[in-house]
Amino acid sequence: MISNFITMNGYGLYVWLSFSVVFISCAIVYFRTKKTLKKYEQDFLMELQALTLEEKNKALENSKVAQQILATSSKVN
């Protein structure tokens, strides 16, 4: 039964190759997208931290998104 599952009655090469191509491509795109997102979150945090306290407070007051990124910074790092 396991041997039938692997060989797919002679079509194993095509079936497994198709599924592998799809899942490897999807995994690469997922990890690249996640990496880019994290990079932008970190860059944003660095820019925020480079501001003076007054500028930082102003930026945080004006932007809930900035607050959110700052709040989740522990996850980012």
């Binding site: 599952f5 797919m8 095509y14 932008y40 944003f44 501001l51 932007s63 998104v65 989740t72």
Partner: protein, 235 residues
Amino acid sequence: MFNFFSSTNIYLLIQKLIKFINSIFFLILVIGLTFALILSPPDYLQGDAVRIMYVHVPSAWIGLACFSVITLLSVFNFIFKIKNFYFINKSIAPIGLLFTCLAIVTGSLWGQPTWGTWWAWDARLTSMVILMLFYIFYILTFKLLNKKELIIKVSSVIAIIGSINLPIIKYSVEWWTTLHQPASIKITGSNSIHSEMLLPLMVMLLVFLLYAALIFLMKYKTEIIRIKKKNINRN
């Protein structure tokens, strides 16, 4: 109501949606793969090669759906000048390109055991390659052009011209004699696919849709951060 669509609210919603998709994705993936590779029956003619359908068909559908959304939003953007549509399109295009490429590759892998050839320049296959080229041109406008207004104009024109290809892809199997089989699943009319194969196909479609949504949300979130970063620099 329009306040709900502010970048802040959208950002919070994106975070919740990403968490939700992450929490259910692997369970649905395992169910989908179990159905597709083990539980679904082999085809009476194609044997187990039919299992390629469970990755090929959802890929092709999502490839087509993404371009349809891009075209629709490009038209709306032309008329209503809503900036958000530009960022949505920019986030969707790579997903559409990925799934179109996957549909072509898996189609080729399915073609060899069933048609006896990896590739044929028939109407369906050629029109899918044209769709892939339109995706590449569309994405290149974001990479090569600098002015946002120009990017919106050029990318919208590419999307609208490319949309002519969508009905050609859909009806190519009816208008011309092709190696590709006619549609087995129809929105109107009866399906020529057995429910034992239709169910795994729908589960795999859900898996692919969740994956596409996850990538879209992550890319869109990146775009929002990019805008906020620019705003900080301006202040």
